[in-house]
């Protein structure tokens, strides 16, 4: 039986006095992918940043495997078994691939070598790029480094902010394949994606955000075939 690994209840957050996401309640179960879609400015990325501890919540609760983490710093959240991959600036550009991966195991350095070997097995292309500075890599390669870094300590939950952003169509397909593979290994994934149709295709559940709130929620297939969601947020009937 699947259990909830990440849950938010009434989560509200923003920047200064501006409230960006309001009263968001969601539950992510083990082995599940939830794809969050919605127009620009809907508060999707802010929601992910709030869960990851980058943005402080104004109110509400965030629990990872039953443990309350709302209000903890990003560095403290990193030790909760959840890893966050930001949309931009998600690698250390001046560090090599090898060093970037080591930073992914910062919380448990004894596991670095073993974890790095596992990540190289998962992304064989990275092995030959291990001495290359991340800033010199292509967008797709950098995204792999960012994924690899997040997976170093085998998180229970992965937060992905637009993993396909800025990638070529071929790389987008590869990226969604990687998301699927990571999920197949038992990692629950909460993903924000502008490429809504592709994102929902690999997700189990979908969540539509508009004006900072959850507008729709349901099985991903249901959202893909919903006329209302399609007309308003997908741009076309799936």
């Amino acid at each position: 039986m699947s259990e909830t690994v990440l849950a938010t209840r009434g989560l509200t957050s923003g920047y200064g006095k501006a409230v960006i996401c309001q009263d968001v309640t969601l539950a992510l179960s083990t082995g599940q992918i939830i794809c969050i879609i919605g127009p620009n400015g809907a508060g999707k990325s802010t929601l992910l940043k709030t869960i990851a501890g980058v943005v402080r919540p104004i109110s509400g609760s965030v629990q990872v495997a039953g443990r309350e983490i709302a209000g903890l710093s990003a560095a403290q959240v990193a030790r909760s078994g959840m890893a966050y991959v930001p949309q931009e600036a998600n690698v250390f550009r001046q560090l090599t691939t090898h060093e970037n991966l080591a930073m992914g195991a910062w919380g448990d350095p004894a596991r670095t070598d073993k974890a790095r070997a596992r990540v190289y097995d998962m992304f064989p292309d990275l092995r030959s790029l291990r001495r290359e500075r991340a800033g010199n890599l292509s967008g797709g390669q950098r995204q792999m480094v960012a994924f690899g870094m997040a997976l170093m300590l085998e998180p229970q939950v992965l937060l992905l902010d637009e993993p396909s952003a800025g990638l070529s169509p071929l790389m987008v397909r590869q990226m969604f394949d990687i998301v699927r593979r990571v999920n197949a290994e038992g990692v629950a994934i909460l993903m924000v994606e502008q490429n809504a149709i592709e994102g929902l295709r690999i997700a189990h559940r979908g969540l539509v955000m508009a004006a900072g709130r959850v507008a729709f929620e349901g099985a991903a297939e249901e959202l893909l075939t919903s006329k209302e969601v399609s007309d308003l947020y997908l741009g076309t009937r799936a």
């Binding site: 990003a74 966050y84 930001p86 600036a89 550009r93 919380g107 350095p109 800033g135």
Partner: protein, 287 residues
């Protein structure tokens, strides 16, 4: 250029390379040009003078004490002055750092007056190498500067804390997301840089004189070396120091030596016009 000029340039470079690396490291982590380095170097020089002349310790012990004391002063200044102001703009922090230098210099002047002082060490004859002269102290400065360069490289490239220092300088938010405690890394960096400024104070006391403006007079060449190497790039700062040292000596060939101090300003002005990112820095693209 004569051998004597090359030796002088090397000594200049050895004097400004460690603080230029420290300046670059601090800039990488704190994101503002910290002009308090002049005050920190002066603190180092007077701390070593106190340990050596007042307490009668040998110079190596006095140097170690000065490094520890200056590390404490730099860390303390960070906690008391700069950390509470970290949300302020780089320009505000730069002006505040100038004020810190003025305060440190005047506290020193209050206790030690403006008199020129020197360490209590035996006078030694300079060595003669093919018609050029080099003092044992100058040779020590070059040797220690090399040791520091190599040690800093080993620290940054091959240790966990060094990797964290580079990671925080590169992308502080991502470092936090990966679990790095940036406050601790910053405290460690300020202490390491403080020790280097303290040692520079000792070098300056050996090669120049000990007086309240000793650090301020070195600030512009250090700043020029750091900018030349690409501010935020500690390795570039070493080459920057070499080039500034050579440029200062070469100036003497065509201009009176009093203009030597202007070289740093000229280098900064030319670089800011032609290549603001320095020789090894990466151009920042602003959207």
């Amino acid at each position: 250029m004569s051998l004597q000029m090359i030796i002088n340039a090397l000594v200049n470079a050895a004097l400004i390379a460690p603080p230029a690396m420290a300046f670059s490291l601090l800039f990488g982590i704190l994101r503002f040009p910290n002009f308090a380095i002049g005050g920190y170097i002066t603190v180092g020089a007077f701390a070593a003078y106190t340990f050596n002349v007042v307490f009668g310790l040998s110079l190596p012990l006095a140097a170690a004490g000065a490094m520890a004391f200056t590390a404490l002063v730099v860390w303390g200044t960070h906690i008391i002055v700069f950390r509470p102001m970290q949300e302020q703009s780089a320009i505000t922090l730069l002006v505040v750092s100038m004020a810190v230098t003025l305060i440190l210099e005047n506290v020193i002047r209050f206790f030690f007056s403006s008199d020129v002082r020197g360490f209590d060490i035996p006078l030694e004859r300079p060595w003669k190498v093919m018609n050029a002269h080099i003092t044992p102290e100058q040779l020590q400065i070059i040797a220690w500067s090399l040791v520091i360069g190599v040690s800093l490289h080993l620290l940054l490239a091959h240790t966990r804390i060094g990797r964290a220092m580079r990671a925080v300088a590169d992308n502080p938010m991502l470092a936090a997301i990966r679990g790095v405690n940036a406050a601790r890394v910053t405290a460690f960096t300020t202490a390491v840089c403080g020790a280097l400024f303290g040692l520079t104070g000792v070098f300056a006391g050996l090669d120049l004189v000990i007086e309240p403006l000793v650090g301020w007079n070195l600030t512009i060449p250090i700043f020029a070396a750091a900018i030349l190497g690409g501010i935020g790039s500690p390795y570039g700062a070493i080459l920057g120091a070499l080039l500034v040292g050579l440029a200062e000596e070469a100036t003497i060939l065509v201009l009176p030596s009093t203009y030597k101090v202007a070289v740093g300003f000229v280098i900064i002005a030319v670089l800011l016009l032609l290549r603001p990112q320095g020789l090894f820095g990466t151009a920042e693209i602003k959207k």
